[in-house]
């Protein structure tokens, strides 16, 4: 099975944003002092670590799958991208908008414009299962996205 042409978006947890909105002020101590283990600032929380585990599990289980990691604050990219993916998957305008808004949930997992897991950062096994479920349901193959392959939006 090829995962080309499909996109999974993993939204960072609320406490692990990489963007800011002050001025020239990276909140991350690593920007000034180097890796966190050297000075103790910005060490990842357990939840951030789990999100990283999810990312690694997805990359390992689905080679070639485009897994994009985004801050929930990066709505300027997240909204249009998820909306576009949802529309491509055959969803209507309103449901697509709803998915785009839901995709700003910290720690959520979005597959081809569909939020498959929201709430706290999922366990890696749950994330892999959720992506596989969507893939199976829509019979991902070739380079065609979900709806193009299955003819209907995955539920």
């Amino acid at each position: 099975m090829s995962w080309a042409g499909h996109r999974v978006v993993l939204v960072r947890g609320w406490d692990r944003s990489t963007g800011g909105a002050g001025c020239c002020t990276p909140a991350d101590g690593a920007a000034v002092l180097g890796p966190p283990h050297q000075h103790g600032a910005g060490l990842p929380t357990a939840e951030a670590q789990r999100s990283a585990d999810v990312y690694r599990a997805l990359c390992e289980r689905f080679p070639g799958l485009d897994v994009t990691v985004v801050d929930s604050g990066n709505w300027a990219w997240l909204g249009p991208a998820v909306y576009r993916d949802a529309r491509r998957s055959g969803r209507g305008r309103l449901p697509s908008l709803r998915e785009a808004a839901r995709a700003t949930t910290p720690g959520c997992l979005v597959v081809d414009g569909q939020v498959v897991l929201d709430g706290r950062s999922p366990m890696p096994s749950d994330a892999v299962a959720a992506v596989a479920r969507v893939g199976d349901a829509s019979r991902w193959h070739g380079t065609r996205p979900v709806a193009a392959a299955s003819g209907h939006a995955p539920q």
Partner: protein, 604 residues
């Protein structure tokens, strides 16, 4: 001159700069290679090192570098006329900032995404790491001092902004708690937060809070000073809170405000067809600071800012998917910052007043110009918002709220970073008590800029804001100089022509040193000993940087002369550090070959 025409010309020049000069820089000077395995792939951990779509990464990068500083500098610098200010913004952005920002990402990517301070220690000399920490210490001190003064001035001039700004804090905390606890989508609550904030503008207009009587009763000569103290007490507390509790939700609200403010400025200019009333070149009064060198340190952010190298090498380089994306993310980020500076210039030359005579009164001398700069920007943006039908009094508070929100976030993160720097310097200096005690380190991070912001002297108005701002600009340019030195050495040792990096580096070092000398003489003559000492220390840092840069570049040239031009030239720059598994480093060419043989993007 219609403001819209000026905006169109500047934006067109930025577009040309991106299309032509950024390509030259990234292809011919840096030799970026799309097939190079970036640290986001080779060190991929899903946490910090994550290959990221360039558009996503641009969003993270731009929101980390854009804010209040590119607004304040240009608003002061139009004192010399809008022509010189805009010329430096355009030339600086295209030929210096873009080179610096994309180069900082590139050099970091080629060194396992290490930050610019670590690279200074590895690429230049070990001493340069200490130099970097010293410069950053002064930079953060001055950032916190100047933004406290900015906020104090704005609160005094716009008492209607007090309620919205202070109620924004519990609103942000409530939003953060709601999202964190319920795991709800962040977009709608944050938009509601912005709406609440703007509704509070109306409440603020009805109930302005003027602390002048209280300040007088407490014995303050200037009400601003009381605000400065309140802001530092606030930042001391805020910087101890977890990031997700206050900083993160306020960042989210600010990200909406950034787009709203940019939209208001552009649409306001378009709808109102505002005209620039300020002179192209201003005949400044005798005794004023001269254009050379002071224009070039007054506008740092907006033309070139060393702080960007921290973001570029600290976080952005860890997420770069393809090395060639450094062009889009870094250079475009610099252009975005330049566009903010353009907006600031237009606000204080076309928006703020309707006639030349009124403008001349606002920019009568350098002290008046610098002290009133942020207020002028607020008044200008308010006028643009008024063009869109928003009542002027509410529009003024709106603009003040936007600037104060950004400045307060900057102070919050600035104090956070400063306490890390204080601890790091303490470790080098062997001061254990300061290294181990976070509260003590935070106190140092707060008290030093507080003293600087409250210092008496310099006449009835105290030290003019412009002087502090110039010192901030100088240290910011020194940080940029250090980053450019690292980039130039990297380019030189790869056997490429570093002229495009050396020209802005030399220009910055000459301008900053020149300004420091002039100011030092002036401070000594006026008996301003605190400022003279501060200036002297920064001057020593500048000289130190020049010596390190000259010595390292000469050494690299000598090495280049002994060895045949080797495009790879690896192993001398810290690029040859073994990877996590202890494997020996691979050369650029090897890495490139490995990527090609794998096909695809080389994701591991």
């Amino acid at each position: 001159m219609p403001a819209i025409v000026v905006a169109a010309v500047v934006l067109s020049l930025f577009a040309l700069g991106y299309v032509f000069y950024s390509r030259y820089i990234t292809e011919r000077v840096y030799g970026l290679d799309a097939a190079f395995v970036t640290p986001a792939h080779s060190l991929q951990d899903g946490l910090d090192f994550v290959p990221t779509n360039k558009h996503v990464l641009f969003g993270h990068h731009f929101t980390s570098v854009a804010g209040a500083a590119p607004i304040v500098g240009p608003a002061i610098a139009v004192f010399w006329g809008w022509g010189p200010a805009l010329a430096w913004i355009v030339l600086g952005t295209i030929f210096a900032a873009g080179v610096h920002d994309s180069g900082s990402i590139a050099v970091s990517v080629r060194h396992k995404a290490k930050n610019i301070g670590t690279l200074a220690g590895e690429v230049v000399t070990l001493r340069a790491r200490t130099l970097f920490l010293c410069i950053i210490f002064f930079l953060l001190t001055l950032v916190n001092a100047v933004f406290a003064v900015v906020i104090g001035n704005l609160f005094v001039a716009n008492p209607g902004a007090v309620i919205p700004i202070f109620v924004e804090i519990p609103i942000a905390i409530a939003i953060g708690q709601y999202i964190y606890r319920t795991r709800s989508p962040a977009l709608i609550p944050s938009i509601l937060g912005v709406i609440c904030l703007y509704l509070l503008i109306w409440v603020g207009a009805l109930y302005p809070i003027d602390i002048t009587p209280l300040a007088e009763n407490l014995g303050f000569d200037r009400p601003r000073d009381l605000w400065v103290i309140i802001m530092f007490v606030y930042t001391f507390i805020a910087s101890r809170l977890p990031v997700w509790l206050l900083l993160q939700p306020r960042d989210y609200i600010n990200s909406h405000q950034l787009f709203i403010a940019l939209g208001v400025i552009l649409l306001g200019i378009l709808v109102g067809m505002s005209t620039i009333v300020a002179p192209l070149v201003n005949e400044v009064p005798e005794g004023s600071p001269s254009i050379f060198p002071f224009l070039f340190i007054t506008i740092a952010c907006g033309a070139i800012s060393g702080f960007h190298s921290l973001v570029a090498s600290g976080t952005t380089s860890k997420q770069l998917d393809k090395e060639t994306d450094a062009r889009y993310v870094g250079y475009m980020g610099a252009l975005g910052e330049g566009s903010l500076a353009l907006g600031s210039v237009l606000a204080v030359t076309a928006g703020v007043v309707a006639t030349r005579a009124d403008w001349d009164a606002l920019y009568a001398d350098f002290a008046t110009a610098s002290g009133g700069a942020t207020g002028n920007f607020v008044a200008g943006v308010a006028e643009f918002a008024n063009n869109l039908g928003i009542p002027l009094d509410l529009a003024t508070i709106f603009a003040a709220v936007v600037v104060i929100s950004f400045a307060a976030t900057t102070m919050d993160t600035g104090v956070r970073l400063q306490r890390y720097v204080v601890q790091e310097i303490s470790e080098i200096a062997g001061i254990d008590v300061l290294r181990r005690n976070l509260t003590l380190a935070s106190l140092v991070a707060v008290v030093i800029p507080l003293i600087l912001a409250l210092m008496p002297g310099g006449g009835e108005a105290g030290y003019t804001f412009g002087v502090l701002w110039q010192l901030f600009g100088t240290t910011n340019q020194l940080t940029a100089g250090l980053a450019l030195t690292v980039i130039a050495l990297w380019v030189l040792r790869r056997g490429r022509n570093p002229l495009a990096v050396l020209v802005p580096l030399t220009f910055l070092l000459v301008m900053t040193s020149w300004a420091l000398i002039i100011n030092l003489v002036r401070f000594v003559e006026q008996g301003e000993w605190v400022l003279a000492t501060l200036d002297a220390v920064i001057f020593v840092l500048a000289m130190w940087l020049i010596v390190e840069a000259f010595s390292a570049i000469s050494h690299a040239r000598a090495e280049g002369a002994r060895a045949p031009a080797d495009a790879g030239a690896r192993g001398r720059l810290g690029e040859g550090v073994a990877d996590r598994d202890g494997r020996p480093p691979e050369t650029d060419a090897e890495a490139s070959a490995r990527r090609h043989t794998r096909g695809g993007r080389g994701r591991r």
